[in-house]
Amino acid sequence: MKVVTGVVGNDVHVVANRLIDISLQERGFEVFNLGVNTYLEEFIDAVIETDADVLLVSSLNGEAEGWCRDLGILKSKYDFSDVVFMIGGNLGVGEMNAEELGPKYRNYGFDLVFHQVDLNEGLDQLENYLKERK
């Protein structure tokens, strides 16, 4: 399984990104890590280039919303029905209600949304999701 990952937008929080890289590899994924400061278009390009199964977007600095609202438009240009779109980290500025953020990001086109959820829990859920989809 191939995963493209990185941190979206003008966001330089790299610590989780490094841990995500390591953890995905340990779970047997092939990882393409675009690092921090990655724009949505770059993510989409990488998914196409690598023929990835999963796009795992991180955002920590609270500005993900502004960077992800156009995901729907971008997705509509290609056939991504086999790709899992996943986002996690800290998905709003200030203290957020996780219940509200889920629907919002799913609306943008994400399948799995993890606001302030531990990495391992998120990756467990990803694996479940992949299993069930089969």
């Binding site: 330089v12 600095n61 200030g94 957020m96």
Partner: protein, 453 residues
Amino acid sequence: MSLLQREREIIVQNEFIDQFDFKEVEEFIKSASKELFISHKFKTTNEMLVQPRGGFPTYDKVFQLYKEFKNSGVDVLPLTIDSNTRLNDYATAKKMLALSEENDVDMLNGYPLINHGYRTTRKMITHYDTPVSLRHGTPDARLLVEIALASGIFEIEGGPITYLLPYSKNFPLDKAFLYWKYVERVCAAYSELNEPINRESFGPLSATMQPPAIVLVIQIIEMLLSLEEGVKSFSVSFSQTGSMLQDVVSSNVLKKLSRKYADRFGHNDAVINLVYHQWMGAFPYNKHYSDSLINTSTVIAAMVGADKIITKTRNEAFGIPTKEANALAVANVKYTLNMLKGLPKISDEAEEENLTNMVNEIMEAVLNDSADTLWRKVFNAIKKGHIEIPFSPHIINANKVITVRDPDGNIRIHNKGKLPISDKSFAFERSKIRLKENERVVDKIIQDIGIML
């Protein structure tokens, strides 16, 4: 017209700002209230100054934030800039500011100073008549600093290394040096009109497993680069390491060596202050624990004898704090500092000697580089990996150094990469590390990042 002035005129010709009036700004700074200068405050008080972090997209919210801070007894106000502005992306900042103003939600994690402009911002700053510190993280801060100074913000944080390696992925390092040279010169020039403008380096770096030797080297270098351009008031800083003793040792050595290197380069007249950052790493999600962590940081700050403390809040893990939570933190810190009495003088000879040696060793390697200017020597040092910081997102960072904690929580150099430290110093570091049998270094690091959780 000087070369600098020519460059300045070009810089301020930017589509996102109104006409910049150099004359008027100079007049303003010349006659500005002394209360706006932290350099003046440092001179006239013996107490540790308390400064929070904070910034919101809109003018009104920052105004309200400052009001809360003043009520809580704040000494220095912060102006934290949003991350688009930090990356000179003023167009996005403008768009998000408009969205924030229309919908009353914060679409930016800080104040887009460029878009607000100095005429507006100055109103707020002179209204509160309290020193304001510019907190950004911007590699190219030329325009930002012009606008900040014109607004009455007389402390500028950052530097070519500390605002680059932790804050950028691929901004060119040599440009950062040159752009910061501009900043230093502008600060130096204005320093002659009234009280000195204070420059402050950002010691926390990536706030994650930073070895004190590297932090101190970078603090000293940024200080020298700044003083070299004529700045007269400089603050070195570092953040809580996770070991009380390592904080004390870092402080003792940093105070000693920053003075030593400043004097060695002939800057005997420069005033150097020490700033302590409360824990900058990952915070617990339990707000009571965050309170405990913050208070513990305060106690340590008092023990290390910092001149200023920069505070965190109980909301840190969750997101940008509300103004209430932020002001509460300030009030608590003030209470604790006021109540703390009878602080012991602490030192640890062996640790201080080893840290001093490591800093001197790296400094000598940097200074021995054959380049003609200090900034080029430093540039080469970073390219060679003589200086690098763990968990930097920047492509130029060598990423060879690996640090882990010893059983007392001290951050130790496990892999020295290309760091030019002696075998003896490195052996000292290694001798402190204890890994459990079969423990993988990566698991240890993950655990060590999360010690406060």
